[in-house]
């Protein structure tokens, strides 16, 4: 039984609830024990790093100080939180005075997609898979922070990553080639400059449809929210169909035969059930 510290972050307790539920579901089938970090606090997100360096460092580092009590790596599904933690670990070297609690630097931080794409985990996944994702064409959408900045993420093929594609293909899906894997969706501008986000998401959604994908797969809460909820205009702008957007953990749960897949998927705005029924996957 593998044991890891789990940092969900604020979105996974709210609008990205199905990401939390599916990550927990997949972990339990794969035999990974998740220990949610007690009394965790917000990483500060975009607001902190856009406002002040002290906040951008102190807010995530407080959580790492708490996590250091345990001899476990810390897994983070929200890639925006993950990015803030990785950045803070670098910046605190220049500004150790912003640490609020002592920290020795021992906690290994992993993004959930990287963690579940490790060789050992993939073998485990394959041995437990019950429902191959046959006939499903997926467009793997990594977004920005899963790959950039590469100095922090350590992803080698940051312009055209393939680790999520590989994960999907191992489960029997077909990963399409397309050019928008790491393009930005506009992220937190959705609240303030919704027009920009609508413009960017339309381009991404249309590109995935044009590449022949049945659906989009992502591991970012902001990407998921922006792509899943901004499809109303799509058909009026000439697209023939909408395109469901999954968290990669939801498709893993489907492949592993988790009982609660339907519940997770019922939280989506763009309905994925019709597609999965047509493909005989649900």
């Amino acid at each position: 039984m593998k044991e890891v510290t789990y940092y969900p972050g604020c979105s996974l307790h709210g609008t990205a609830r199905e990401y939390d539920e599916s990550f927990r579901g997949v972990a339990s089938i794969l035999g990974i024990n998740l220990y949610e970090l007690e009394d965790w606090t917000c990483c500060g997100s975009t607001a902190a790093h856009c406002t002040d360096e002290a906040l951008a460092i102190a807010l995530p580092m407080r959580n790492l100080s708490l996590a250091e009590k345990y001899d476990r790596e810390m897994v983070i599904p929200c890639v925006a939180c993950y990015s803030r933690f990785k950045a803070a670990c670098e910046e605190v070297k220049e500004h150790p005075e912003y640490l609020i609690l002592p920290y020795e630097g021992k906690v290994k931080i992993k993004y959930a997609l990287d963690f579940l794409s490790e060789e050992e985990s993939l073998k485990n996944l394959l041995s437990k898979g019950v429902k191959p994702l046959k006939n499903l064409s997926v467009a793997c959408y990594y977004g920005c922070l899963a790959v950039r900045p590469p100095k922090l993420t350590e992803v080698k093929n940051y312009e055209y990553p393939e680790h999520m594609d590989r994960l999907m293909e191992l489960m029997g899906a077909k990963a399409v080639s397309w050019s928008y894997k790491t393009d930005c969706c506009g992220a937190s501008l959705v609240m303030t400059r919704t027009d920009i986000v609508t413009h960017l998401t339309q381009k991404i959604l249309s590109a995935a449809i044009e590449a022949g994908a049945d659906c989009i797969v992502t591991g970012c809460t902001m990407c998921h929210s922006n792509l899943d909820t901004r499809q109303e205009d799509l058909t009026s702008k000439g697209e023939k169909r909408k395109i469901p957007v999954f968290y990669f953990t939801e498709l893993m749960g489907l492949y592993l035969g988790h009982r609660e897949v339907k519940k997770w998927l019922s939280r989506h705005i763009t309905d994925p059930m019709k597609l999965l029924t047509e493909k005989g996957l649900i």
Binding site: C10, S11, H13, G14, T15, A16, R17, D39, W40, T41, C42, G44, S45, T46, A47, A48, H49, C50, T51, D52, E53, A54, L55, A56, A58, L59, R62, E94, E97, Y98, I100, L101, C144, L145, R148, P149, P150, Y158, D183, C184, G186, A187, S188, L189, M191, T192, R193, T194, I196, L200, T229, S266, R267, H268, I269
Partner: protein
């Protein structure tokens, strides 16, 4: 005269940005790769490569009151592709910090406003409660109807928690915000 570059002005603003960001802005040779790959450049008033140039020219007011520094979505495409390894995204962060510190106004005032409401939300309970965040932001912008239907659809699907779940890390979070508000240890 207004556009003339005085050596004192140049060195002081450039030095300030160099110090705040710890990024070697002097290395820029204006290849424009940052602007070519920027996904939000069309909404900016000064393109990213021009921002770097304007810093070198010492045009503090123009840079710190621009739309650009707030429109930047921190996607890091510029930093990743810069042939001279200039972390443009980090420079943008530093420019936002300086702009707030000197109280510059920007036509994109809703973006720093949203950040402020977001931070108040963290300060009050340690975690972000999305519904209070959105309601407080809407109270300030008075734009109650935007995405109201979407909000309802998300609520129906159990994505929106009505009540905040409590307070977390209270003592530490208080201390973190005290350090920030007093500008201590800077």
């Amino acid at each position: 005269m207004g556009n003339q570059i005085s050596p004192e002005k140049v060195s002081s603003f450039l030095e300030e940005v160099l110090q705040e960001s710890n990024v070697n802005i002097r290395a820029c040779f204006q290849c424009q790769k940052c602007s070519a790959g920027c996904p939000v450049v069309s909404a900016m008033d000064i393109m990213p490569h021009q921002i770097i140039r304007q810093i070198q020219y010492g045009r503090k007011d123009k840079v710190l009151s621009s739309r650009t520094i707030w429109i930047c979505a921190s996607c890091h495409t510029c930093s990743t592709r810069c042939p001279n390894d200039i972390d443009v995204a980090k420079v943008m962060d530093s420019l936002r910090h300086l702009s707030l510190r000197y109280n510059y106004k920007t036509p994109e005032e809703e973006i720093p406003l949203f950040h402020r409401v977001f931070l108040e939300n963290i300060k009050s309970s340690g975690r972000v409660h999305e519904l209070s965040l959105i309601m407080r932001y809407k109270l300030k912008t008075k734009d109650f109807f935007k995405d109201a239907t979407l909000g309802w659809e998300m609520f129906r699907r159990g994505k929106i928690k009505i009540m905040p779940a409590g307070s977390y890390g209270t003592k530490d979070v208080k201390k973190i915000f005290q350090v920030y508000e007093k500008g201590e240890r800077r």
